[in-house]
C-alpha cells in the first residue's frame, strides 16, 4: 500500500485519439502541437486527450474541471481502462493499467476502483441494497457479508431505511447517494466520480458536497472528481486540474487557480467565481508592523511607511488603537508630537482563515483591518486596497484574454 501523500494515479503524456486510425496522422499532428479543432478538420479524428500529464496523491481529492467536451470523462476512463489510450502511460499504484487484460483487469477494477456517474447509472431492476452491494457480489463476497457492508455504506449516506426500495422510488439526490454508497461499499482505494453532482439541484448539490467532504474527512479515499463547475471544483478540491480541448491548462490548489490563473482561459472561468468566497485573509494580508504603546507620532509614522495605517498593541500583543496614515499626517501637520489624539478605536478585526467576502463591509470603510489569532494577538494587517486589487488583477487578466481572443 502506498503511504498517504504518495502519488497513486499517474497519467504521463497521455494521448487519446477517437477514430478509425488513432495512431495515424491525427496522432502525429496532435503530437506536433496542432490543436484539437484543426486536427479534427484535417483528419476527421477527435482528439480526446492531448498530452495529459497529472498525478493524484493518495488521500487527495483531485478535481478535473473543464467545459463539456474537454476530455474530462475520457481522462477518468483511462484510469480504469474503460478506454484504451493511444499513447503515454497510466500508472495506478505501480500498475501499468494499459497492460492489463481480461481477468487481471477485472480484478484490478474490483480491488481499486469505485465509480460514481453523472446520471447515477443505478441498476433499475435491482433493489437499492443490491445496487450497493453489486461491487462485492462481483468480487464473490458471500451474501450476508456483502449486505452488511452495503448497509454500512447506506447508513453512511443516510439511506439505511431505503435498502429495500427500487431506485425509481427515490429522488435524484437520494439516487446519487445510493451511487456514492455503491462506490464506497467495496471499500476501494480510489473513487472515480464523473460529474457526480452535476445533475442535482444547486441546493442538493451543495448538501451532497458537504456530505462527501465529511465522509472524505473520515475515510481519506483518493478521489478523482470530474466537474464542469469551477465553483464546485474550488470548493471541494485539494487540487484542481483545468482542461481545455483535451489538454491540461493548469493544475494547482484552488487558491493558486484563483490568484494566479495561468492563462486568460482560466481567468475567464475565475471571473464567474465569487473570489471572496474562496480567497482567505491570510493570502493577501501583510505582516503586522505594530506600533508599541509608548511610541511617539514620528516613530509611528515611520512604521506606517507606505501603508495606509498601523495598529497600536498592548503588552499582550492585542491591537488597541488604529493609526491611519491620513490621521497621522494631519496630526503631524498641526505640529503635535503626541500620538494619543490621532488614534482611533473604531477599527474592524478578523481571523486569518476568514474568507474575503466576510470582510467586504469592513473594507468598504477604507480602513485597515486587524487580523488576530484566537488569543487576540495581532498577526496581520489587511489593507482594503489589496482586496480591491485582487479583484482588479483578475479583471485585468480577463481583459488581456479577450484581447487575445477577439483581436
Amino acid at each position: 500500500m502506498v503511504e498517504m501523500g504518495e502519488e497513486i494515479i499517474v497519467l504521463d503524456e497521455v494521448y487519446k485519439i477517437f477514430g478509425p486510425q488513432p495512431r495515424g496522422r491525427a496522432f502525429d499532428l496532435a503530437r506536433s502541437g496542432m490543436d484539437k479543432n484543426r486536427v479534427q478538420a484535417e483528419t476527421g479524428h477527435v482528439v480526446g486527450l492531448d498530452n495529459v500529464t497529472f498525478s493524484v496523491k493518495k488521500g487527495e481529492l483531485f478535481v478535473v474541471m473543464g467545459l463539456s467536451g474537454s476530455g474530462k470523462s475520457t481522462a477518468l476512463r483511462t484510469v480504469n481502462k474503460l478506454h484504451d489510450i493511444t499513447y503515454g502511460s497510466v500508472i495506478v499504484d505501480g500498475t501499468d493499467v494499459q497492460a492489463l487484460e481480461g481477468s487481471d483487469l477485472q480484478v484490478f477494477r474490483r480491488q481499486y476502483m469505485g465509480m460514481v456517474f453523472q446520471h447515477f447509472a443505478l441498476f433499475p431492476h435491482r433493489k437499492v441494497i443490491d445496487n450497493v452491494s453489486y461491487g462485492l457480489k462481483v468480487q464473490g463476497v458471500e451474501k450476508k457479508t456483502r449486505e452488511d457492508a452495503a448497509m454500512r455504506a447506506l447508513s453512511l449516506v443516510g439511506l439505511g431505511s431505503y435498502a429495500q426500495s427500487f431506485p425509481s422510488e427515490l429522488s435524484g439526490g437520494m439516487q446519487q447517494r445510493v451511487g456514492l454508497a455503491r462506490g464506497l461499499a467495496s471499500d476501494p482505494d480510489i473513487l472515480l466520480m464523473d460529474e457526480a453532482f452535476s445533475a442535482l439541484d444547486p441546493l442538493i448539490r451543495r448538501q451532497m458536497q458537504d456530505e462527501m467532504m465529511e465522509i472524505q474527512a473520515d475515510l481519506h479515499k483518493t478521489i478523482l472528481f470530474i466537474t464542469h463547475d469551477l465553483n464546485e471544483a474550488l470548493r471541494i478540491g485539494d487540487r484542481v486540474c483545468i482542461m481545455k480541448d483535451g489538454a491540461v491548462v493548469q493544475i494547482g490548489t484552488p487558491e493558486e487557480i484563483l490568484t494566479q490563473p495561468a492563462t486568460g482561459y482560466v481567468a475567464e472561468f475565475v471571473q464567474d467565481v465569487d473570489q471572496g468566497r474562496v480567497i482567505q485573509v491570510h493570502e493577501i494580508m501583510q505582516e503586522p508592523r505594530p506600533v508599541p504603546a509608548g511610541a511617539t507620532l514620528a516613530e509611528a509614522l515611520n512604521r506606517i511607511g507606505g501603508r495606509s495605517g498601523a495598529f497600536v498593541i498592548d503588552d499582550s500583543g492585542s491591537p488597541t488603537h488604529l493609526l491611519t496614515a491620513d490621521d497621522g499626517m494631519r496630526a503631524a501637520g498641526m505640529g503635535t508630537t503626541d500620538l494619543g489624539p490621532a488614534l482611533r478605536t473604531d477599527f474592524d478585526s478578523c481571523r486569518r482563515e476568514d474568507c474575503l467576502n466576510t470582510v467586504y463591509a469592513a473594507a468598504g470603510r477604507g480602513l485597515p483591518i486587524a487580523v488576530c489569532d484566537e488569543s487576540g494577538t495581532l498577526i496581520g494587517n489587511l489593507d482594503p486596497r489589496h482586496i480591491m486589487e485582487e479583484m482588479g488583477r483578475v479583471e485585468h487578466l480577463i481583459d488581456d484574454f479577450e484581447r487575445e481572443v477577439f483581436m
Partner: protein
C-alpha cells in the same frame, strides 16, 4: 448459316436485334445448373442435410408425437392453465384453459389437429428462440457481427416465402420438417432485430457501471443487458409467434398437417361445418398463444390487429417498441380510504340472497327428473333404456347442464354474499352486490325457462322436486339481492353521463331482435334414421315373432327376416324443430320473453326515467342479470346437445342466436357496472 436458316423455317437467316428470333439463339441454362446443384447437394451433402434436419425432426417428434398427442387433453388444458398463470397471471391462464378446453370439446379429430398445431408452432418458436436469442445478443454486443447479420436478415425478409419454400422442399421433401424450417426463416428476423436493439438501447452508463466494478463480460450480459432488454426481447418472441401463426397456411400447403390442413380440406370440400369448427379452433389457439407470449406492457388488442401490425413491421420491428415504453401504472384513485362496512340495512337482503343461492345449489343433488320416458330428458334419445328412472340435477340424463349452471350460479350468489360480509369491497369485482343480483336473476330466468320448456312431444318425463326447489331458490335469491342492492353503498368512479344512453337502448333492441329471430330458427336438428312402420308390416313382424316362439329351431332365420323388414322400413329424415312450435321445447319463446323483459329494464338503466345514479346502476344490474339468464338457458340447451353421444342430434342455430342475444343484452349494462364500486370512507373526513 444455312442450317440456321433451315431451322428458322426459311425466315431471315440473321434475325435483327429487336426480333424475338434472336433470343431463340440463346439459352442460359440457369434451370439446369440449379437442377444439378440441387442434385449434387442432395447426394454429396446428405449427411449435412440430415444433421440440419435432426433438431427439427427430433423436437417435433418429441413435442407432438410423444407429448401432445398421447397425453390426455385434460393435462394439456391444465398445463396451459398453469403456464398462463405463471407467465401472465390467473386471468390469462384461465382464459387459455377455457379456450383450449373448448377446442377439445369440438371433437377428438379437431383436438388432435389442435394439439399438432400447438406443437408445431411451439417447436418453431422454440427453435427461433434457441437460434435467434444468442444471435441477437451477439449482434447487440459486437458491431462486426451485426454488420454481417443485418443484410442477411434483410434478404430473408425481402424474398417471398413461396420462393424460399422451394429449396427446402427439394432438400427435405414436403412435410412438417421443411414447413418448420420455412416458418423459422420467416419468423426469426424480428427476434434477432429486437434482441439486438434491446441490448443496444440499454443505457451505456449502466453497462459501464457494471464493468467499472470489475464484472466479467458474462456478468455484464446477465446482470444488466439481458434484464434491461427484456421488454424488447419479449416483444420479439411475441412477434415471432405472431408471424409463425400467420405462416400456418403456407405450412399446411407444405404438408405440415394441423388445423391449417383441416381448413384447407374444408375449403376444397366446401364443407362449412368443418371450416367453421377448425376456423374456431385455429382462432382460439392463435389467441391463446398470443396472449401468453404478450409482453406485459402491451394492451390486449385484437389478435387480427396485432398480426397485421406484426406483418406491417416485420422488416422494421424496432418501430413496435416506440410508445411501448414502460408507463408506470397510475395509482388506483383514492387508494387511501377503506371500503364502507356492511350496514345493518344491508344484512337482511344479504341473508335472504345467500339462503336462496344455497337452496338452489343444494337442489341439484335432489331429484330433477322422474319417470324418464321414451327419452330420459333433453335430447338424450340415446338413453332409450332409461325409461322410468329418476335422476338428480347433475346426472347427465337429468337436468344435466342446467343443473351444472344452477349449481354455479347458486354458489356465485353465496360467494358474493360471503365475500362482501367478510371483506366488503375487497373481493373480486364479480363477488359484490351487483354480482349477487346478476347471479340470482340469471338463475331465476334460466330456471323459469327450464320449468316451462318441455323436452319434446315424444318425451314427457316428470319434473322432480329439485327443479321446483331450484326455482324457489332463484326467486328467493333475487328478492334478497334486490333488497340488498337498494341499500348497498355503491358509487361510480366518474359521474355518469347526463344524456340518455340511446346506444344502450338500441343495443338492447338489437339483442331482442336477435332472440326473436332465434326463436323462429331451428333449435334442434334430428338427422337420425327412424322407422316408419305401416300397420301391415307391424302385423307381419308380430306374426313372425309368434312363429319363432312356437318353433325355436327356426328362430335364427326368422329374426334375420325381421331385421331385413325393419331395415327396409328405415327412413332417414331430417327433423328440424324451431323455438316456438309445440313439437319442440319452446325454449325460443321463453327466452324471447326474457329478452323483452330485459329490454324493458334497459330504459330506466339508460337514464330515461330519472338521472339518479344509484337507480340507474340497479336497473343496469337487472338488465345484466336477465341477459345472463337468457344466455344461460340457451347455453344449457347447447351444452346438453354437445354432451349428447349421438352425432346426428344437434342443437340448432336458434339456440346460438339466443345465447348471442342474451350476452349482448348483458353487455349493454357493462359500461355502468364497470363504473360502480363499493363506496369508500375516509378516516379523516
Amino acid at each position: 448459316m444455312t442450317v440456321l436458316a433451315q431451322q428458322a423455317g426459311g425466315e431471315s437467316a440473321t434475325p435483327g436485334l429487336f426480333s424475338e428470333g434472336l433470343l431463340d439463339q440463346f439459352q442460359i441454362p440457369v434451370g439446369n445448373w440449379a437442377d444439378q446443384a440441387v442434385d449434387w447437394i442432395a447426394v454429396r451433402l446428405e449427411t449435412l442435410l440430415q444433421i440440419i434436419e435432426w433438431p427439427f425432426s427430433t423436437l417435433i417428434g418429441f413435442v407432438v408425437d410423444d407429448i401432445l398427442e398421447p397425453v390426455s387433453w385434460v393435462w394439456v388444458v391444465l398445463a396451459f392453465l398453469v403456464i398462463g398463470t405463471l407467465i401472465r397471471g390467473v386471468k390469462v391462464g384461465t382464459f387459455a384453459a377455457v379456450s383450449l378446453g373448448l377446442c377439445a370439446l369440438l371433437g377428438v379429430n379437431f383436438w388432435l389437429q389442435t394439439a399438432r398445431t400447438i406443437g408445431y408452432i411451439g417447436v418453431a418458436v422454440l427453435l427461433c428462440v434457441i437460434v435467434g436469442l444468442p444471435l441477437g445478443i451477439a449482434c447487440g454486443r459486437v458491431d462486426s457481427v451485426w454488420r454481417v447479420v443485418r443484410p442477411v436478415l434483410d434478404g430473408m425478409q425481402v424474398v417471398h416465402s413461396f420462393v424460399y419454400m422451394l429449396p427446402f422442399i427439394f432438400f427435405w421433401g414436403t412435410g412438417v420438417v421443411s414447413a418448420t424450417m420455412v416458418t423459422m426463416v420467416f419468423a426469426l428476423p424480428p427476434l434477432v432485430r429486437l434482441t439486438n436493439l434491446g441490448i443496444r438501447q440499454v443505457r451505456e452508463d449502466v453497462v459501464e457501471a457494471s464493468r467499472a466494478y470489475g464484472a466479467p463480460e458474462w456478468r455484464v450480459l446477465f446482470d444488466v443487458q439481458l434484464p434491461l432488454a427484456r421488454p424488447a426481447i419479449t416483444t420479439g418472441i411475441n412477434q415471432t409467434l405472431l408471424l409463425a401463426i400467420s405462416m400456418l397456411g403456407i405450412a399446411a400447403i407444405m404438408g405440415a398437417g394441423g388445423l391449417g390442413q383441416l381448413l384447407l380440406k374444408a375449403i376444397t370440400d366446401q364443407s362449412v361445418s368443418k371450416g367453421a369448427a377448425s376456423g374456431l379452433a385455429f382462432f382460439l389457439v392463435a389467441v391463446v398463444l398470443d396472449r401468453i407470449s404478450q409482453p406485459q406492457s402491451d394492451g390486449p388488442g385484437g389478435l387480427l390487429r396485432r398480426i397485421r401490425r406484426a406483418w406491417a413491421h416485420r422488416r422494421d420491428p424496432e418501430k413496435l417498441l416506440e410508445g411501448a415504453e414502460d408507463t408506470p401504472s397510475p395509482e388506483p384513485a383514492g387508494s387511501a380510504g377503506g371500503f364502507a362496512p356492511v350496514t345493518a340495512e344491508e344484512r337482511p337482503g344479504m341473508v335472504i340472497a345467500g339462503i336462496g343461492g344455497l337452496v338452489a345449489a343444494v337442489s341439484v343433488f335432489l331429484v330433477w327428473t322422474t319417470d324418464a320416458g321414451f327419452m330420459s330428458a333433453y335430447g338424450r334419445r340415446t338413453d332409450e333404456n332409461l325409461a322410468g328412472e329418476t335422476f338428480n340435477g347433475l346426472s347427465a340424463s337429468g337436468g344435466s347442464w342446467f343443473g351444472v349452471l344452477t349449481l354455479a350460479l347458486g354458489l356465485w350468489v353465496v360467494a358474493a354474499v360471503v365475500t362482501t360480509w367478510l371483506a366488503p369491497g375487497r373481493g373480486p369485482r364479480l363477488f359484490t352486490t351487483d354480482g349477487a343480483l346478476i347471479g340470482a336473476l340469471a338463475l331465476l330466468v334460466m330456471m323459469v325457462c327450464y320449468a316451462l320448456a318441455s323436452p319434446s312431444d315424444l318425451s314427457s318425463p316428470g319434473t322432480g322436486p329439485g327443479v321446483w326447489l331450484a326455482l324457489a331458490g332463484g326467486l328467493v335469491a333475487s328478492v334478497g339481492a334486490l333488497m340488498w342492492i337498494r341499500r348497498a353503498p355503491h358509487t361510480p368512479l366518474h359521474p355518469l353521463k347526463l344524456k340518455i344512453g340511446w346506444g344502450r337502448v338500441i343495443g338492447g333492441t338489437v339483442a331482442a331482435v336477435i332472440i326473436l329471430v332465434g326463436m323462429f330458427s331451428a333449435w334442434s336438428f334430428d338427422k337420425r334414421s327412424d322407422q316408419v312402420m305401416s300397420d301391415e308390416t307391424l302385423a307381419k313382424i308380430e306374426e313372425l315373432r309368434q312363429k319363432a316362439v312356437e318353433n325355436p329351431a327356426d328362430a335364427g332365420p326368422i329374426s334375420a327376416e325381421i331385421s331385413a323388414l325393419t331395415a327396409q322400413m328405415s327412413v332417414t329424415q331430417l327433423a328440424v324443430t324451431d323455438g316456438v312450435s309445440s313439437e319442440g321445447t319452446r325454449l325460443g319463446l321463453w327466452t324471447l320473453i326474457g329478452g323483452l323483459l330485459g329490454l324493458a329494464t334497459v330504459l330506466p338503466a339508460a337514464g330515461a326515467m330519472g338521472r339518479d345514479e344509484h337507480r340507474r346502476w340497479r336497473w343496469s344490474t337487472m338488465t345484466a342479470g336477465i341477459g345472463a339468464g337468457v344466455a344461460c338457458a340457451a347455453l344449457g340447451w347447447i351444452a346438453v346437445h354437445v354432451r349428447s353421444a349421438d352425432p346426428n342430434y344437434l342443437s340448432g342455430v336458434g339456440s346460438f342466436l339466443a345465447l348471442l342475444g342474451g350476452v349482448l343484452l348483458a353487455a349493454t349494462a357493462a359500461g355502468i357496472l364497470a363504473e360502480f364500486r363499493r363506496s369508500k370512507v375516509y378516516a379523516d373526513l
